[in-house]
């Protein structure tokens, strides 16, 4: 009886751990991308796409807030999602 209870408790703790891991992995990419968005709001002059006249490729598209958003999105789609699928199996 006590062994059964202990097994149930261990299984519950393990499943809670998995839920937290999935949650953390699911938020890591979006959180990174959100940090990029916040950066763009705080320093809008960094996003030259908002006033593109006279800007070249590098100044338009290779700006830190855009790169952070891109990194968060790429990580979420190509790394976090497959990892979450594996965790949930």
């Amino acid at each position: 009886m006590s062994t059964h209870t202990a097994t149930e408790a261990a299984s519950r703790i393990r499943s809670e751990h998995y839920v937290w891991r999935v949650r953390l992995l699911a938020t890591l990419g979006p959180l990174t991308a959100f940090a990029g968005v916040v950066w763009a709001v705080v320093q809008p002059y960094r996003v030259t796409l908002l006033h593109p006249h006279g800007q070249g490729f590098w100044w338009l598209f290779v700006q830190p807030p855009l790169l952070v958003v891109l990194a968060g999105a790429l990580f979420h789609v190509f790394v976090a999602r497959p990892l979450i699928a594996d965790l949930e199996e």
């Binding site: 992995l25 590098w58 990194a71 790394v79 990892l83």
Partner: protein
């Protein structure tokens, strides 16, 4: 060719991704991380690729011998650390001493930052960042060293991830010529932008 600060930002993105990969590995756990064949190779091969990409930076973006040597040493140690980790993951390298390649890369990188920065901390922003990055890499070497001692220790892996994310933030802050906390030496020149 991109301006030098854009190159720093692209490498910052690389370090951010490296940090995220390592954090994901820590969160998911080693067993789940290794469930897909490609995943254990992800961050070591990415680090190796960043080392390869540092060579054109060394060739086209450095304007003094000491800068060239510093960038060359970063290229070499990033490739060394990435290749050693790849060899360990693949099982081609068996000697556990290969695990010291990553802390060695941290130490060499830190020294290269500190040695190649000739100006004091508050000369301009890039000087401040070079000093900060140098000490970050030297102190942060504790984490890969701990990982070499205990390969699956989550704290050590998380520490490396946090160091990479911090390096990324620092590189994102870099500008060609800008003040730092209101300080800009008149000897540094006029800020560009």
């Amino acid at each position: 060719m991109p301006p030098a600060e854009h190159v720093h930002w692209m490498f910052a993105t690389g370090f951010l991704l490296l940090g995220l990969f390592l954090l994901a590995e820590v969160i998911a756990g080693e067993e789940v991380w290794q469930r897909r064949a490609w995943r254990p190779y992800l961050w070591p091969s990415f680090l190796f690729l960043m080392g390869v990409l540092m060579w054109p930076v060394m060739t086209f973006f450095t304007n003094s011998t000491i800068h060239m040597v510093a960038h060359g040493s970063w290229a070499q140690v990033m490739m060394l650390a990435g290749a050693a980790e790849l060899g360990l993951v693949r099982g081609k390298l068996h000697n556990p001493l290969w695990r010291l390649a990553t802390p060695f890369a941290f130490l060499v990188s830190g020294v290269a930052f500190l040695v190649h920065e000739q100006n004091p901390w508050f000369f301009q922003r890039s000087s401040f960042l070079h000093h900060l990055l140098g000490w970050t890499m030297l102190i942060g070497a504790v984490f890969p060293l701990a990982r070499a001692w205990r390969p699956n220790w989550a704290v050590a892996n998380a520490g490396i991830a946090i160091v990479f994310v911090f390096v990324s933030l620092t590189l994102f802050s870099d500008r060609d010529l800008a003040p730092v906390f209101g300080h800009l030496s008149p000897l540094a020149g006029e800020p560009h932008r």
